[in-house]
Symmetry: C2
Subunit: 471 residues, 2 copies
Amino acid sequence: MVMRDVQTGQRNEEGIAAVLGILKQQLGEKLQTGQAFREQHSHTTTYLPRQIPDGVVFAESVEDVKAVVRACATHRVPVIPFGTGSSLEGQVNAPSGGISLDFSRMDKVLRVSPEDLDVTVQPGVTREALNTYLRDTGLFFPIDPGANASIGGMTATRASGTNAVRYGTMKDNVLSLTVVTADGEEIVTGTRAKKSSAGYDLTRLFVGSEGTLGVITSITLKLQGIPEKIGGGVCSFPTVKAACDAVIMTIQMGIPVARIELLDEMQMRACNAYSGLSYDEKPTLFVEFHGTEDTVPMQSEQFSMIAAECGGEDFQFTGDAQQRAKLWKARHDAYWAARALAPHLGALSTDVCVPISRLADCVAETHADIRDSGFLGPIVGHAGDGNFHILLLFDEKDPADIARAEAFVERLNRRALSMDGTCTGEHGIGQGKMSFLEQEASSSLPLMRAIKKTLDPQDIFNPGKILRPGA
Amino acid sequence: MVMRDVQTGQRNEEGIAAVLGILKQQLGEKLQTGQAFREQHSHTTTYLPRQIPDGVVFAESVEDVKAVVRACATHRVPVIPFGTGSSLEGQVNAPSGGISLDFSRMDKVLRVSPEDLDVTVQPGVTREALNTYLRDTGLFFPIDPGANASIGGMTATRASGTNAVRYGTMKDNVLSLTVVTADGEEIVTGTRAKKSSAGYDLTRLFVGSEGTLGVITSITLKLQGIPEKIGGGVCSFPTVKAACDAVIMTIQMGIPVARIELLDEMQMRACNAYSGLSYDEKPTLFVEFHGTEDTVPMQSEQFSMIAAECGGEDFQFTGDAQQRAKLWKARHDAYWAARALAPHLGALSTDVCVPISRLADCVAETHADIRDSGFLGPIVGHAGDGNFHILLLFDEKDPADIARAEAFVERLNRRALSMDGTCTGEHGIGQGKMSFLEQEASSSLPLMRAIKKTLDPQDIFNPGKILRPGA
């Protein structure tokens, strides 16, 4: 997150006025321009400044989306898709004003095929609502980024979360999309076939495009059968290196772990303090297995042997749902526990991801950096993917502290890139990571720019995100 | 495969002469222009006519690739990447002449990281050579399209094969690419991080682009641990519907089957005749499980219960490698057994893929069509993915028979599209399926064309493939 990238863009006042007039006429009360609505539809989840849109359209149909895109294309006004607003890198900010396109009323499950394990949803369906809807089918949608995000937003951000190690990311779980493109028409990017070699992979081009190439209007997703049995466990390790070694061996042996989360000493201390728990304040792995009554205990046994071999202590495992929730409590409370370390400070969440062989080094060097910098910064990692977050606590009112935090984030991202990693495993680029994308993808950035220019020649789709204007 | 799409394109004679002169000077003996070399580097795997290039460059380095692309870009001459020539839709034909860029000498494994389960290879490495190289690491690369294709070709075609049901397709197994683009420079499309939300997914844009957007110069792949235990089995069913029901239940219950292949009655008859075997001549599923000494027998037991419930008979299973090879013999011999039904006839392989709930219907309607048309056309299906191939046997010397075959293929593809399927699960579009892509992706075709135009403004990269010129 680099403050200097969160600039106010050029505003097209005449165009904005024209679009507001047109949409008022066409959409009536679905367009809201009150200050409260507009503020809710700007970035609200970190210390990044709010940049509010000029109007909010609560779309109720694809026709509404087309109307917005057409009016905005005609008058060169920004369109900013909005799911639940839980993105972390300023994706929903409106640096040049424009229309926030809210999908909360497009929240229908359009079809489901239990036989094919797939479902088609409107973008405003949240992952929790989807799983509630699916409950009776014996199926579930596995991607869990923590927040109760919308499927549209998760698709646009290429989200993942705790169980990507088993089920992949949004990239792996979207079969097909419909998208309203710059000409105001809707295209279909794929079929319901489980695989296809038919032409360019437009589905994957829109997944992770953060609303900058078009507006997603429906998503066809793969589903999974609800596991017959879920088991979970917790194990502490003398060092982060030892914990990472256990993760590498687990992955290498092909144990189909569903979640394998790393919490560092500071995070464990925070959890103990926050929830009155008594975990060992050591690097700790939280693991979960999905399978059958037979395979879950086997997987747990295999993991416990690996953990012991790597110096892990006192592996606690349970197949009981309530007990599991208790064992996993520290993981579930991690965010609020970390915030409680310094309730008066602001927080930002980093998101680097490195090859797992480098995870221990990356965390160790980052620990040293946190210590040397004097920050509070507990670490939670999706260790099986080599992805970890630092919740960096700092005084967001103090420009000097912001500058120190940004310098830290800069070092962290450079460290990850030097280890052949990425600046973002799952949060996306938004406004906050544009300069890191330039470092990470320096050779391919011109191609990204060319694609943006081709699909969005007037730069109306979420301008000022992913690619720095004019850089 | 539609013959009418295999047209000769416009030849740029002056440009071709200039490029041959430049490359002779720059690359010496790496450029070959003899008739035999040129013929070997045209389409040779089906009845589609050969369209030979004007020269073949045996690239030995990225610099050689750049030299070819630069010369061809300067003089607007086609560049046609060539792996092993095992593609099935005319992908390596040269309808407008040009340079075939042969990767057989770029066959090095560049690096491997057993800890990260990934490897980087040059495009000319074949999948068998890769697995031989990896043997001592305990890892393997799972994608198996049948032919010993090159990794570059498999990437370009978005290939898959028998065990995609477990391990996914090339789309799911490529971490990153290097690609020489139209300006003659090499770009990097990703990192070695297992997941990333950093900008547009250029990796997936090049996977499946069949050499039409740039030339792939290296591929970083995910690897898998070699299973501790592999077991295989065979089970016959009274009807294709019953077999498909067993497949659907297997997938729905989350049994992690590694392969689940359907052979129809005609194919089983062909196999018995070809290899002197005595399988029941009924629709038959060939299954394989990858796991541990404990889990493989469990999975097999679960499958056998499902199979019995669906009317399957006499499920034979073995955990012994030699026995498994024997049980699976019909599957392994399927292609040659089918050809032997009518050795004097030509053959083409279709490749539709439908949602598995529609697989039984699609096969049943296709059976009726085969019968009504009087063709020999045994079916082999990657049933877990809803993908099946008919090896259609017909007289490739007889224009009337070719026309009948093409009409059959047209009906088949329309049938799959009407079931929300795709015209190609794994073979790609090439020259043979351009008209079907136009039907399947009618709404998104303009976007594909725009991307092609952006990345390859002069149409030098494998012209006349995927997108019909001027259509």
